[in-house]
Structures are given as structure tokens and as C-alpha cells.
């Protein structure tokens, strides 16, 4: 964007501002999007994912990253499980799997 374009937009904006009628009543106004690309929640790290699974009683946790998910194989009460943990929302799917040889 060059300076001429910037000036043009500034003038247009100012004109719109002057000619726009004031709001009739106090009401919600659109937020100032000064941080459009900030404040998306973070991705869960492997360490944090592991602690969450430990808190659920899993042991022998093996984590791998697959796209938006942490995928884990783990053991609970002596039985093997597969778990998918969404790396942003934390949504979880847990599935008990057959033990090897069964």
C-alpha cells in the first residue's frame, strides 16, 4: 500500500465518520480489532498432554503428534488404550483396545 492510497482511505474514512448519524441509543458496538491475530488459544505441548493423561490414570504413555491431535497409546488398570487429544480444544477420545494376542 503506498502513501497515496493511504491518504485516500484516510480521507474516505474521515468523510464517512463525519456523515454517519450518531447511534440512536446506547448499544453494543463492534470491538476494535486491534489484535485480530492475537489471542487464539495455544496448542497443548507434549508435556501438558502427558500430564493430562496421567491425571486420568494412564501409564506407559507414548505420544505422537498427528495433525491437530496428540495420539497416545497407554495403559490403564493393566489394559491397553488408545487416546486422541485435540491439541487446541483438549477434546478427548478414549478407546480400549484388545491386548496383543487376543
Amino acid at each position: 500500500m503506498n502513501s497515496r492510497t493511504i491518504f485516500s482511505v484516510l480521507v474516505t474514512s474521515a468523510a464517512l465518520c463525519v456523515t454517519a448519524p450518531p447511534p440512536a441509543t446506547a448499544q453494543y458496538t463492534r470491538p476494535t480489532p486491534s489484535n485480530e491475530n492475537k489471542n487464539t488459544v495455544a496448542e497443548i505441548t507434549q508435556e501438558v498432554a502427558r500430564v493430562r493423561l496421567q491425571k486420568l490414570g494412564y501409564t506407559n504413555i507414548q505420544l505422537t503428534r498427528n495433525g491437530d491431535y496428540w495420539e497416545a497409546t497407554a495403559t490403564k488398570e493393566g489394559k491397553p488404550w488408545q487416546i486422541r487429544l485435540h491439541a487446541t480444544t483438549g477434546a478427548r477420545e478414549e478407546k480400549q483396545v484388545a491386548a496383543p494376542g487376543k
Partner: protein, 551 residues
């Protein structure tokens, strides 16, 4: 770079001229109700949402459900609530999910839901101007928060993320660690989101996965609670304000205000920047912190992040395990870490020493010292009975201390710490066993009690709610960080002292001529109507009286 600056300027000017300023009545310090409007919106082609209105009411605004309202009550130490909040929907937007997902303006997603709510025929709704807004869409197309304003999330949003965006809504910023090799996402700064013990690093936080609503979020770290005005003043130790530069401190768990002890220790060290200091806090793996791995003492460095021009918390932790850098443009690195370094349990830097005694249990015992000290008012000097004694006294007292120090060897029993008859320990500092007369000891204790009054308050460290000159905290109670004139503060303290005589006997009702002050919602101290008006007026000043460099 110059062109980029021009673009930034243009953006700011256009937004400033095209959008009315937000008219939020509230700002920190927060006390009482923080009302939010939660709006539920689906798109023209959305399937039936997975949850009804009642589900989100229970998750967000109802108390007793272990949801957001209970979290806010706990993390604010009972100072704040969601009173006045409401949930509305489901509204149907005119656009498809694909259209909304493709929008480049994230705030437009919020606006489209607001427009749908306003235009709805059966339950039209426009959020009051003083409320923050949280839009939940079904299905989800974004997860974002805007400072001091609003947020957008999906129908599967979990409580930790709702709480995190609530935090942004009341102007909280992200937390960081000192691991500059940690890159959570391409758009995040080095170390950003690397404090899993603090809500403001969500979703990268230690969540209790057995909790309702998708998991229980951890507490805010002490600095963020302090920023909101949610830690009682008497539960914050600022090392050195009393002239004593080394102390052994008992810390109560941050989420257990009922346990006696300080909730946070501030350890100043930077005479050039009074907002640059360490904080020490203790966290136990229970209550809202059930998701953290184990009980732990956490040490943060609060410092100016020049990229954001804000003071932020940086958790001190060891270097993380070396990791492959994420693929980003521009590239991050050259080195990257998993952000898994253990939090440091001691500090020996910047003239500060911090160490933990034994294994923390119900409380943690911490040894802290600093070389930072407040300068004295004119006519006073540091007593300097030892290197950790910077109590401001008259020069004669300093001379007396020097004299007593010189005679110390002759006033102890042989091979003992015990004083000979006629002498007692001076205790200028907790470990001061120099033997002096009882009169000198009494004088020393008196000087200690007067220490802050003889120091120059301009150079004190007071944390994120430091008032700008000439204002001071009102201190109507221990959580009252509202900045007022010194005269108003004096009036407040006088009214508190007179409170007992202004109530109808055996009642909460004020005698004739007096009304409840209501400096905060449950403030029933009886004052004159004029004083009450002053309190209401001061409350509306919000953060306009807080030191700007710290906002």
C-alpha cells in the same frame, strides 16, 4: 519497515474514526459484578447444536455448577462475580459455515452473531453497552479473545478456554517463560504460552481432565490475580518495603486463601524499573489446581516485554529439551525446545537470593533476600546494623548501631549466643543477635515499626495497581485498590474507625444522616451521603489513576 508503520498507523486511524469507542464502565481493579452476554449462534446450514441453552447457562453464569461463575469467584478470592450476565440463543445467522470460516476479519464473526441476535424475531437481543460479549458458534469456526471486550469460540469449547478468553476480556495478557527457544505457534512470541500453571497460557495448561465442562482450568498466577486487585494487600509481601532485605517467608497455596501466610512475595531488585521484580508463589495440586502435576513453588520474573510494551510474567524454568522447530514463515529458531524444563526452585541473580526450605506441604517456607532498598527521606539514613538492615532512622541511631556492633563480642557469654546480664538481642533484623540494652532494643523495634514512614515512598515497589501521583489506595478494606486522593483515604480510614458508632444498635442499618458507603458491594460502613458519592465517583475512575506504564 516504514511502510509497515504507515499501514499500522492507517489501520489504527481508520478504526478509531469508524468505530465508536467502547463504553465499558468497568476496568481494573475489578470488584463486584463483571457482566457478560453469552450469545449462541448457528449458521444457515448448521446441524442441530450439540447442547441447548441450559447447558451453556450452567457452564458459564450459574453458580454451584463448577463452571465459569464458580471459577471467577474462587480466582478473585470472592471479590468478583458474573452477576448481571445472561445467555441467549440459539440464533441463526444468514451466512453459511463456509462463509464464516473464510472470513479474514475475526471480529466480523462476532459481529455477524450480534447482528443475528439483534434481528431475531422471537428473542431479539442487543448486549448492554457495559457488557463484554462471548459468542459461541455451532459448529466452531474460531477461538479468539479481544482485550477488554469479547471473544468467539465453538460449541465444543471447554471451560479452560472459556475462562482464558474471559481473562482477555478483563484485559489479562498471556503468560510467558524465560525459555526463548519455546515456540508454541508460528504467530506466538518466544516463550509465550509456556506457563502451564497459569490460565493465561491456555490451552497449554495443566487441566484437571476429570472436571466437568471439558476440564478444570488452573488458577491465574499471582501477578495476574494481583493485576486484577484480587489478592488482599495484607497477603502480599514486598521485600524491602520495611527496610529489612532478608526474610524467611511462609507462603500459603495461591488457591487456599483460608490458609494463613502470604499468597505472594514480590522481590524487587531493579532500582531503575520499579515494575521489574520477581514473584514467588506456592501452588498445591488440589482445588482448581487439581490438574497440576504436583505441589510446587513457582518463581516468575515480571518485566517489560518490549514487543508488546507491557509488563508480563516470565516463569523461570530450565531449558527445555531440544526439539525440531515448527515450520513457520518467517522461520523461528534456530534452536527450539519442547518447553519442558522444570521450574527453577532457587534464584541467585540480580542481587536476589531465593531458596526453598525443605519440602513444602500445607505451606511453603522460602528464604528470600535482595540488595534493593528504598532511599530514605531527608534527615534519615539507613541504620545498616547489618547488610540486610536498610531501615531508615535518624543518624544518631545509626551511630548507636555501629557502636553496639563494635561492642558485640564483649556482651555475649563465652562461646554462646546468649547475652550477659543486662543485655538482650537487638533484633534489628530477625537474625540480629547483637546484645544491647533493653532500651536500645525497644528503640530498634520502634524504628522498625516506623520504617516505611521514614523511607521515600516514591521509590517503593507496589505492583501492577500502583497509583499515579498524587493518588493512593483507598483501603476501605484489604482488597480496595481504588486510587483516591490522600484526603479521601484519610476520610475512609476515619469512617472505618467510626463505623461501630454509626449503626443502629444490633443492626446493619445506619443511624439518621448516614448511608452505606458501598465502596465495594458489601461495604456497609456508614458515611455521609457526600462521602458515599465520592466513593462512587472514585470507583468510576478505574484504571485512569493507575501508573500508565503499567497498563
Amino acid at each position: 519497515m516504514r511502510d509497515q508503520n504507515l499501514k499500522t498507523l492507517l489501520f489504527a486511524v481508520v478504526i478509531a474514526t469508524a468505530v465508536s469507542p467502547a463504553a465499558y464502565a468497568q476496568s481494573r481493579p475489578y470488584r463486584g459484578s463483571i457482566p457478560w452476554s453469552f450469545l449462541l449462534c448457528k449458521f444457515s446450514d448448521s446441524p442441530a447444536p450439540p447442547h441447548d441453552l441450559s447447558y451453556y447457562q450452567q457452564m458459564t453464569i450459574q453458580t454451584g455448577t463448577n463452571g465459569l461463575a464458580d471459577y471467577v469467584h474462587s480466582v478473585s478470592n470472592g471479590a468478583a462475580d458474573l452477576g448481571g450476565s445472561s445467555v441467549h440463543g440459539w440464533y441463526t445467522e444468514s451466512h453459511t459455515k463456509a462463509y464464516e470460516a473464510a472470513l479474514t476479519s475475526r471480529s466480523q464473526r462476532l459481529q455477524d452473531c450480534l447482528d443475528a441476535a439483534k434481528a431475531d424475531r422471537s428473542d431479539p437481543y442487543v448486549p448492554p453497552s457495559n457488557q463484554r460479549v462471548y459468542v459461541i458458534t455451532s459448529p466452531g469456526v474460531d477461538l479468539v479473545g479481544f482485550e477488554n471486550c469479547c471473544a468467539v469460540g465453538g460449541d465444543d469449547v471447554a471451560l479452560p478456554e472459556i475462562a482464558h478468553e474471559f481473562g482477555h476480556g478483563i484485559d489479562l495478557e498471556h503468560s510467558f517463560s524465560n525459555d526463548s527457544n519455546f515456540h508454541d505457534a508460528c504467530w506466538s512470541q518466544p516463550g509465550e504460552y509456556d506457563n502451564p500453571w497459569d490460565l493465561m497460557s491456555a490451552a497449554n495448561v495443566f487441566v484437571d481432565p476429570t472436571h466437568d465442562w471439558g476440564g478444570g482450568p488452573p488458577f491465574l498466577d499471582a501477578y495476574h490475580q494481583d493485576e486484577m486487585g484480587w489478592i488482599p494487600q495484607s497477603r502480599i509481601l514486598t521485600l524491602g518495603l520495611d527496610g529489612i532485605l532478608a526474610q524467611t517467608v511462609t507462603l500459603a497455596p495461591l488457591s487456599h486463601q483460608e490458609t494463613s501466610g502470604y499468597l505472594v512475595a514480590r522481590v524487587p531488585f531493579d532500582a531503575k524499573d520499579l515494575f521489574h521484580y520477581y514473584t514467588v508463589e506456592y501452588r498445591t495440586a488440589d482445588s482448581w489446581d487439581s490438574g497440576i502435576p504436583a505441589n510446587i513453588v513457582l518463581i516468575n520474573e515480571v518485566k517489560l516485554n518490549t514487543k508488546d510494551n507491557l509488563y508480563q510474567t516470565f516463569l523461570l524454568r530450565g531449558a527445555g529439551t531440544k526439539a525440531t522447530c515448527p515450520t513457520c514463515s518467517p522461520a523461528v529458531g534456530p534452536s527450539c525446545s519442547y518447553g519442558d524444563g522444570a521450574p527453577v526452585q532457587s534464584v541467585n541473580a540480580n542481587g536476589v537470593k531465593i531458596s526453598i526450605q525443605g519440602t513444602p506441604g500445607a505451606t511453603a517456607t522460602i528464604d528470600i533476600s535482595t540488595e534493593w532498598a528504598m532511599p530514605c527521606l531527608q534527615g534519615y539514613v539507613w541504620r545498616s546494623s547489618s547488610s540486610t538492615d536498610r531501615v531508615c532512622v535518624k543518624p544518631a541511631s545509626r551511630t548507636q548501631a555501629e557502636d553496639d556492633n563494635a561492642k558485640a563480642g564483649s556482651r555475649h557469654l563465652p562461646n554462646s549466643d546468649t547475652c550477659i546480664q543486662g543485655y538482650v538481642w537487638r533484633q534489628a533484623t530477625p537474625d540480629d543477635h547483637v546484645c544491647v540494652t533493653a532500651a536500645i532494643r525497644a528503640q530498634t523495634q520502634n524504628e522498625n515499626a516506623q520504617a516505611y514512614g521514614n523511607a521515600n515512598p516514591v521509590y517503593g515497589v507496589y505492583g501492577p495497581n500502583t497509583c499515579s501521583d498524587p493518588y493512593v489506595w483507598r483501603i476501605a478494606d484489604d482488597l480496595d485498590y481504588v486510587c483516591v486522593t490522600p484526603a479521601t483515604r484519610a476520610q475512609t480510614l476515619a469512617d472505618n474507625a467510626a463505623a461501630g458508632s454509626r449503626h443502629v444498635k444490633g443492626s446493619d442499618t445506619c443511624v439518621s444522616g448516614y448511608v452505606w458507603r458501598e465502596a465495594y458491594p458489601s461495604d456497609h460502613v456508614c458515611v455521609t451521603p457526600a462521602t458515599r458519592s465520592q466513593a462512587q465517583s472514585d470507583n468510576t475512575q478505574g484504571n485512569s489513576r493507575i501508573v500508565k506504564s503499567n497498563l
